[in-house]
């Protein structure tokens, strides 16, 4: 279970193949993956490795991806 980080992705983004591909590419610690149906999957066991690099946030339309620090 992730203790420190939660990532929230707007359902619209999560269904868009090109944005999903981008997210999978940019995250240095493999938090994003492509699910069976091509939709976005969050890799639960990697969440706490998040480096807070913001690359996922920059890769998508403003406000659609949120990285939440659970310790704040």
């Amino acid at each position: 279970m992730a203790m420190f980080i939660r990532v929230e992705v707007d359902p619209q983004v999560a269904g868009q193949a090109d944005l999903v591909k981008k997210l999978v590419e940019v995250c240095p610690v493999d938090i994003f993956a492509t699910g069976q149906d091509g939709a976005l999957a969050i890799v639960e066991q990697n969440l706490d490795e998040c480096t807070l690099c913001d690359l996922c946030i920059q890769a998508c339309p403003p406000g659609t991806v949120k990285v939440v620090k659970l310790y704040e």
Binding site: M3, F4, V29, E49, T51, L52, K69, Y71
Partner: protein, 401 residues
């Protein structure tokens, strides 16, 4: 990484260093059979990684297969410096006229390989250096050019040696130097290098150490010698706890969280990096702390590595609390270590506020790290508390419980 004598001799044979025809036996029966085949008087030598075999009774002579069986049985039963012999090396006893010494090392200040030669072999070379310096000579040589015979000739001649001895010794030194450079060795030593009664030379005993960091490049040689990856050949074999630590460090390539050495105290240490760990371990001892382990974290390890390392240390019987301390960090991130350690404590079923005696890692991403530590109620300090003071406080906490 030290080689057994039979491994070292196998390597030197490839470089045409003159050797007696040696064999290896792992049972008294094999030893008896080998002695029979070689005929005459043979020498049997314990194959252990430590020196001082002669004194310890690990070298015996036998003039018949029966004697060889008996000698091998005794040698194989006899641990030397805590090490059980792997086998016995058997070779014909040589009629020695005179003993020499030849060795190759790195001169770390000149930053070059160096050849050392003495006409007083058979004793410890440090002793020769201290008591008979006039019998010892050395010279650095190039690591870029092929080894030059003339360099070795100059070294031998500098002790006043001439004639057949000079011309026979020169190529032996060159070959030793070539083996040294080609195989990433840090020591290649023949002692004694014997002149026999018939004037020929032979390597009676040798000692070869390979650079740990050359192992990847020397795969072919190591495979040929049957030296596996898992053989660390440290001064003492690793404990299961240390092996587990090495596995955690190897689980991913992000940073270091391992290099664990086991001690028997009650204060678990998660410390780093290289120099910081040494400094902090000294400090804990200075204030009377009893460390459960030495370790190193650094190079920005993953959260999961730090977490697994924490769990391992907490699982060690007798560990009461852990202290998490480093020097001011540059590339390791305070928040990442904080996450890993806290996660490890929680997953082990403890309260971080209670289990973590102290957290002192200032530097990169400290603001974010301190937020996490505050949230879990962990006692933490920034750079205004010195490493020594942090260690002192950690130890003091152990004594109040």
């Amino acid at each position: 990484m030290r080689f057994y004598e039979y491994e070292a001799k196998t390597l030197l044979r490839r470089y045409e260093v003159p050797l007696a025809s040696f064999r290896v036996a792992s049972t008294p029966e094999e030893a008896a059979a080998t002695a029979g085949e070689l005929g005459g008087t043979v020498v049997l030598k314990s194959q252990v990684l430590s020196g001082g075999r002669m004194k310890a009774g690990g070298v015996k002579f036998a003039s018949s297969p029966q004697e060889a069986r008996q000698a091998a049985a005794e040698i194989l039963r006899l641990p030397i410096s805590g090490q059980v012999p792997r086998s016995v090396l058997i070779e014909p006893k040589a009629p020695v006229a005179k003993e020499y010494y030849a060795g190759v090392i790195y001169n770390t200040l000149a930053k070059r390989p160096a050849i050392i030669f003495s006409d007083m072999g058979g004793i410890d070379i440090e002793e020769v250096a201290e008591q008979h310096p006039e019998h010892l000579t050395q010279a650095t040589f190039s690591s870029l050019r092929p080894v030059s015979d003339y360099k070795m000739k100059e070294v031998v001649a500098s002790l006043g040696i001439t004639g057949n001895e000079l011309t026979a010794l020169t190529p032996i030194l060159s070959r030793l130097a070539r083996a040294f450079l080609a195989h990433g060795l840090t020591l290649a030593e023949i002692n004694p290098l014997a002149r026999l009664e018939n004037g020929s030379f032979v390597c009676l005993d040798c000692h070869v150490d390979m650079d740990e960091d050359a192992r990847d490049r020397q795969g072919a040689l190591l495979q040929e010698l049957g030296i596996g990856r898992e053989e660390t050949r440290q001064a003492r074999p690793p404990t299961p706890f240390e092996i587990r630590g090495a596995q955690i460090d190897a689980q991913d390539t992000r940073g270091v969280a391992g290099r664990i050495v086991e001690f028997d105290g009650d204060l678990g240490l998660i410390i780093g990096a290289g120099g910081g760990s040494l400094t902090l371990f000294d400090a804990v001892r200075k204030y009377g702390g009893r460390a459960a382990n030495y370790c190193e974290i650094g190079g920005n390890p993953s959260v999961s590595k730090a977490c697994e390392l924490t769990k391992l240390i907490l699982s060690k019987p007798g560990v009461d609390k852990i202290a998490v301390m480093m020097n001011v960090v540059s590339n390791t991130r305070v928040d990442i270590v904080a996450r890993g350690v806290i996660k490890g404590v929680v997953e082990s079923g403890y309260d971080p506020a209670e289990k973590i005696a102290i957290f002192r890692i200032p530097g990169s991403w400290e603001g974010e790290g301190f937020k996490i530590l505050r949230k879990y109620g962990v006692e933490y300090y920034d750079r205004s508390v010195s490493m020594d003071e942090a260690a002192r406080r950690a130890v003091a906490k152990m004594q109040t419980v």
